[in-house]
Symmetry: C2
Subunit: 496 residues, 2 copies
């Protein structure tokens, strides 16, 4: 009888024994609904298109039928009825990031993930950073342009999977990305009084977004809590499961364009976000980059030598966020950096160089790199990093203070994002970015947002997501005088 | 603040004070939803189309907006948002009869019925009676043809009202008519084991039926209880309100193609239908017709003369159902008819004539009629009528017996249909069609089906309709041995 799982976004079921009995007059649809109800499907809607072919289908097939059901806000909708078992039934989760769009293709017949990959977000053409895109989108026709290229980029992939076989889409993105996808004006997201248009997109027909899937396919877009706290974080939290934890307290830390941090459990979720992200991710350094092949991810410095590793063991191209953390921590431990972030050329003097009147430290010499240029870090970049790590530590401290907790009370530090996958926790602790309690309690979640979107395809628990929305309290840093107090002391490297 | 009524199928509301406050970040849609909730609208859905223009609309209009909301299965949908109050907002109730289609146009801004008229059902082109149409529709392309001409006939009227201003349709018809409208196969409705396709059509987008209304308009089609008990009866019951009566017992009698009778109150609804209809309606008599201008509706016979009245005082064309009842009752009282239905030419001999070896009674001579032919009734037709009225009386008796009631216990006899508007209750009682208790307790409801569909536009109480569906028990006459026992004695005119 169909799939063993009940209640995924898409269910493929086989129903038999549907013949009418002479004793009682019943309706084809009514008998089918009664059977489906016994199978756990309630609130089932049949489009006329399906009902029109149902009687013949049943009578030519000994009153048996295969159905494809989709989860709707209020129950289920039967979108296909057929003699034979459907050949391919897919769901697609999309993590709509401002840089990349990640796709997760889930096969409902095999009950497994069959494909997972990323493409570049075509919006980059309009502007690398979100602010440029926001500015561009102020004109109505430009907003429509951004919407169109975004939807077209997704559609190009959907067509590859077989668009009529894609029955569900689960999409998460930050507040701006979700607005772009839906073609909603973004003018008021960051302009006081700030007011994005939509909080909860809910489940809509894919055609409302002009997404090229099955004609009756549905699309779920994760809701936002606010301008800085979007559907990607909600999806990440949904994946992390901290909102379901009954005992203890948990941190969910997502470092993307912003650093978003949530502290809580089943009873409360206290959220905060700060512009700590770019510096931590490595994106804003002259030789920095996000994690990609050739990015320096780890660094080790002894009296004698400096060793580094790159992603995919390729020739170094740049240094990514986790590499920066490692580098700065190693510099400090080796005595080449003061607790205030001042470079100290005590040894390895060949690696220190003046560039435009500023001291820099060379991690990889031009002879070693793929592009033939030095990869280095500037003193000012180190100071900027220390401010960012200070902001991160301050956010963690502030959230704990808000609920009267200390770091000792934290059960687990979940770290999401590509950053979370590569970070050496020890270095982050050395620098005072994470508290020492994180040393044995940190756990990388990978792309929690994308995984959360995928999870929705399999466990579309709207109540859980509503619970997250309802229980989340968002703290704005600029309204917290205590932030500046804490921050002042956190911009240095802790000395034991 | 908009209309004083809340909860009609369509509501037009004005919402103001929607500016975002600096203290808390909220979303345009969220603030609007909060206001609507205070106004009594919960579970509100905004299509992206509306959301896309909302921010600009609000900001160019001092944060005020006019909205049009439609009732959906699970709440409301906002289908229009505008700066100015909408000019015309209509709902259309349609009584889809097998002969005529009645339209009721309701103006939601004026809160009143603005138009009411009927057109002929175009399906008549395919066949006068339902059986011919059912046979025709067995071929898939013929079914599609019937669906198309039916929808086109309705669309032709909708375009006149202004299709983009029609936001809701409420449609009732018998089980076959509803299937035709929805394009559903009718093959199995009357073939054992009987099984129509759909019981409860629910609220759907008008576009699913290809009805030409506002792009987001909704259509409600009344549900059926069974092949003989369709949405027209449900709508009629809904209008009569007997399902809400807390005290006493009530009859709802609808004489159309079939005679449908329901006995009950808030606690139960016992329904029965029989082929009593055509003979009672006058349709199957040689000189018979349904009520129309020139139809003889009342007859009076004294020793000296015969008097009759016609609808609209036009020259007589035919004799309708109520005229037949009157005529037969008067013939009997004058001594021109035996209790068994045998014509007795005791006087007025010029009115008795042999036609093809059968005695007939002339009501109007050819000199008086509009077509220059005699209008008469045949002895065999009288006998056929007596069987029909016997069936009606038997159904009433049977229903009472089923629940241990006598006619004394009946609070009211509601008689629906054009028939119910013209029938002289005294004559019906004389003939033993209605029990003598009906004499002061009968009440004509007019076109209860059409009025019920109209009522839905104003009070879309789905729970009430579900209550009717749930509480209705349908009795099949051919499965009731007691029917034949009772029927045997009821085919005569009662002699005091």
């Amino acid at each position: 009888m169909g799939s063993p799982m009940r209640g995924r976004c898409v269910e493929v079921v086989f129903v038999d024994d549907l013949a009418p009995k002479t004793e009682d007059i019943t309706f084809d649809e009514e008998r089918l609904k009664a059977k489906l109800s016994l199978m756990g499907f309630n609130g089932v809607f049949f489009p006329l298109k399906v009902l029109r072919k149902l009687p013949k289908l049943l009578r030519e097939n000994d009153f048996k039928v295969w159905l494809i059901l989709l989860k709707t806000e209020s129950g289920w909708e039967v979108v296909e009825a057929s003699l034979n078992k459907p050949k391919k039934v897919l769901g697609v989760a999309v993590d709509l990031g401002s840089t990349g769009i990640a796709f997760y293709v889930y096969d409902y017949l095999k009950s497994q993930l069959v494909e997972k990959y990323s493409i570049l977000n075509p919006q980059i053409e309009v502007g690398e950073d979100i602010l440029t895109r926001l500015h561009f989108a102020r004109k109505e026709k430009n907003l429509e342009y951004i919407r169109k290229i975004t939807v077209e980029a997704i559609n190009k992939e959907l067509i590859k999977f077989g668009k009529d076989e894609v029955f569900y889409l689960s999409i998460c993105g930050n507040t701006v990305m979700s607005h772009f996808l839906a073609g909603l004006p973004v003018d008021n997201i960051f302009m006081e009084p700030r007011s994005p248009v939509v909080k909860d997109y809910g489940i809509r027909k894919a055609e409302e977004y002009q997404l090229d899937a099955h004609p009756l396919a549905r699309t779920y877009v994760f809701p936002s809590v606010g301008p800085y706290f979007g559907g990607d974080i909600i999806a990440g939290l949904f994946y992390s499961g901290i909102h379901r934890k009954e005992d203890g307290f948990y941190f969910f830390i997502d470092v993307g364009t912003n650093a978003e941090v949530v502290l809580g459990n089943r009873d409360f979720l206290l959220a905060c976000s700060g512009a700590a992200g770019p510096a931590l991710e490595g994106g804003i350094f002259e030789c920095g980059c996000q994690a990609k092949p050739g990015a320096i991810t780890t660094v080790r410095i002894t009296k004698e030598e400096l060793e580094y590793q790159t992603l995919n063991q390729e020739k170094p191209v740049c240094i990514c966020g986790s590499g920066v953390i490692d580098l700065i921590a190693e510099l400090f431990k080796a005595g080449l950096l003061s607790y205030e972030g001042k470079l100290l050329p005590n040894f390895m003097k060949e690696r220190f160089k003046k560039l435009e009147d500023e001291l820099v430290f060379i991690v990889a010499f031009k002879e070693e790199t793929s592009h033939g240029r030095d990869i280095y870090i500037k003193e000012s970049e180190i100071k900027s990093f220390l401010r960012s790590k200070g902001a991160m530590h301050t956010i963690l401290t502030l959230l704990c203070e808000k609920v009267g907790l200390s770091f000792e009370d934290i059960e687990r530090f979940y770290i999401a994002g590509t950053f979370g996958n590569h970070i050496k926790v020890e270095s982050a602790v050395t620098l005072g970015m994470l508290p020492k309690q994180a040393l044995y309690k940190a756990e990388g979640l990978g792309n929690a947002a994308g995984e959360g979107a995928l999870k929705f395809l399999i466990e579309p628990n709207l109540d859980e997501i509503k619970h997250i929305l309802r229980n989340t309290t968002f703290i704005e840093l600029n309204k917290e005088p205590r932030f500046m107090e804490l921050f002042a002391g956190s911009r240095f490297i802790p000395v034991e």
